[in-house]
């Protein structure tokens, strides 16, 4: 299995606070990697460093062997990396369909051709497919702001997938979602992984969600990697148990 994404000794500190302290791991092609850890273990900061939202203070990030450390998020997106956010970030004033078209349009042609091309940049068929895939058909024309929280979470994931990315980083996709929606979300993510071959990296606190969805799990504590392996191995690892229950 080839490494799609490799993170090498990544470091990030904010003044005196060290958030990410030499994290190294690989993400294999087509796997679903979960990242868990107690609060403050540096998970979101790690994401932000990988995704160019923050500049890391040290270390390297490689995609397909090519160095992508510190690239802007929009450049990364065009290389096939996309993400969702912990705090929901959809566009409430646009309809569900418009949100999806927006999410995909920047990958069609260039800025100039988009100006003179079709109103939807040709994204409507793809948007309709995504709407059906996430079973949001009845909400397609509704303003995204009027959806329920769980539905917005689905839309958020859908938007991240519109550009047909090879790698999707999801930041707490299950947060605040009720049980039925959760099952839906898990099943849709598995389907995306299986059908479209998208590699997923998921930060989560919801243990059941992570353990049942992911093929491997990485545990972070205090900015350092603690353990990595199959869900059962990690769940039974004494160091992990202590990190969560000890202190």
């Amino acid at each position: 299995m080839t490494a799609l994404l490799s993170v090498d000794n990544l470091q990030k500190h904010f003044g005196g606070i060290v958030a990410v302290d030499g994290v190294t791991f690989e993400v294999h092609d087509r796997e679903i990697l979960g990242i868990i850890g107690p609060n403050g273990s540096g998970k979101s900061t790690l994401f932000n460093c990988i995704l160019g939202q923050l500049q890391p203070n040290g270390g390297e990030v490689r995609l397909d062997g090519k160095d992508i450390t510190g690239l802007r998020p929009s450049d990364l997106n065009r290389r096939g990396v996309s993400r969702t956010f912990q705090l929901l970030q959809i566009f409430p004033q646009l309809s569900v369909r418009e949100n999806l078209i927006l999410a995909g349009q920047e990958h069609q042609g260039s800025m100039v051709t988009r100006l003179f091309g079709a109103r939807d940049a040709g994204m409507t068929p793809a948007a309709e497919k995504m709407i059906d895939f996430f079973r949001l058909r009845h909400l397609a024309d509704e303003l995204a702001g009027s959806l329920s929280y769980g539905q917005q979470k689905l839309l958020d994931a859908a938007m991240a997938l519109m550009s047909g990315p090879r790698l999707v980083l999801l930041d707490e996709p299950a947060g605040g979602v009720n049980l039925t929606m959760l099952a839906d979300l898990k099943e849709r993510l598995r389907a995306i992984n299986a059908e479209q071959g998208a590699t997923l990296v998921v930060i989560e606190h919801n243990m059941d969600f992570v353990m049942s969805l992911c093929t491997r799990v990485l545990v972070l504590a205090e900015g350092k990697p603690l353990a990595i392996g199959k869900p059962e191995e990690v769940r039974n690892n004494p160091k992990v148990i202590e990190a969560y229950l000890g202190h």
């Binding site: 998020p73 929009s74 997106n77 927006l102 069609q108 988009r114 091309g117 519109m162």
Partner: protein, 331 residues
């Protein structure tokens, strides 16, 4: 076609008819005021793009209008037809917009506001000092009205229709821009630039484009202003004028398609109406802006939208969404 859209369409038709029939009813000064409104609206549309759609504060719009006006004055007085002025004005203002914006938008903190502040003041100095080009404080007079295909636009009514036609073309072009994928990107950049970036939207480039196009439209506005007033000097292109344009767009409703139209009314007609109160009109204007910002930052159109929502009966969700959408910022 529900009741809301029908009544809006009727309102639009009435307004257009009134605009077209105005010269029959008004004397030449009234026609001049309307022409001034049309020309000002073009500049305001440009600023609305920068402020309302890209979320950037530009304090240089009057300087761009001035550049356009001097282009037109100098070119037409030297025998070049007006189209040359259009091209030169738009090209130069667009380029300057790009040059100013590129470094300023690398950093947050609304640096573009300060850069445009400095630029406006600098350009005003150049207008005032370079007499060989601009006539300095004495300005340039006797600017001819254009002749289109042999038809002279010297008369007040003829030139007014010319201004209206320009406004119509600019409005249509703007409408088309906002409905294109760029318009969607502008919404994204304005509403949530972080999310937009993660979706591959090059926020910096779109913001730059909005600012540069907005500047170009300011130039176009100036190209029409010169033959309208037929005498230009530096005074209408000062920092104060830029601030007034900014307030005008905000009062009308920044980010709304019709915001500039409403704002330009307020800006052009308000001093006329309040002439009896002397210089107080500016104070009133400024206080109005402050109150609006506290109560309804989305300007008069936003206020109208809110009032209409309160007044109308609750409707079924889909119909209500459609209703909201017609009054909502254009996407």
């Amino acid at each position: 076609m529900n009741a809301r859209n029908v009544s809006l369409a009727i309102l639009a038709a009435i307004v257009v008819a009134a605009l077209l029939a105005a010269p029959l009813v008004l004397k030449s000064y009234g026609i001049y005021i309307l022409s001034l409104w049309a020309v000002t609206t073009i500049g305001a549309i440009g600023l609305n793009l920068t402020l309302g759609y890209a979320g950037q504060i530009s304090l240089a719009q009057a300087a761009f209008v001035g550049i356009g006006a001097y282009c037109a004055a100098i070119l037409t007085k030297n025998g070049y037809p007006l189209p040359f002025a259009y091209v030169l004005a738009f090209a130069s203002c667009f380029s300057i917009g790009w040059i100013l914006g590129y470094p300023a938008l690398r950093v947050e903190h609304h640096y573009l506001a300060f850069v445009t502040l400095a630029f406006t003041t600098l350009v005003y100095l150049i207008f005032r000092n370079e007499e060989w080009l601009t006539g300095g404080v004495s300005g340039i007079g006797g600017i001819p009205r254009p002749v289109i295909f042999g038809y002279s636009l010297k008369g007040a009514a003829e030139f007014y229709y010319f201004c209206l036609a320009n406004l119509a073309v600019v409005s249509l072009a703007f409408w088309w821009l906002i409905r294109s994928p760029w318009g969607r990107a502008f919404v994204a950049v304005r509403e949530n630039p972080i999310r937009a970036l993660s979706l591959g939207v090059d926020t910096r480039r779109y913001t730059l484009m909005a600012f540069a196009i907005g500047a170009g439209l300011g130039g176009i506005s100036g190209v029409l202003l010169a033959p309208l007033v037929q005498f230009i000097d530096p005074s209408p292109f000062s920092l104060t004028a830029s601030l007034n344009l900014l307030l005008m767009v905000v009062i009308g409703g920044s980010g709304y398609f019709f915001g500039p139209f409403v704002g330009a009314i307020v800006a052009v007609l308000l001093p006329e109406w309040l002439r009896f109160s002397g210089g107080l009109y500016l104070i009133f204007y400024a206080v109005l802006v402050m109150v609006l910002m506290a109560v309804c930052p989305t300007g008069l159109i936003g206020l109208a939208g809110r009032v209409l929502k309160l007044v109308s009966k609750p409707a079924a969700p889909a119909a209500k969404a459609a209703m909201e959408r017609t009054l909502e910022r254009t996407t």
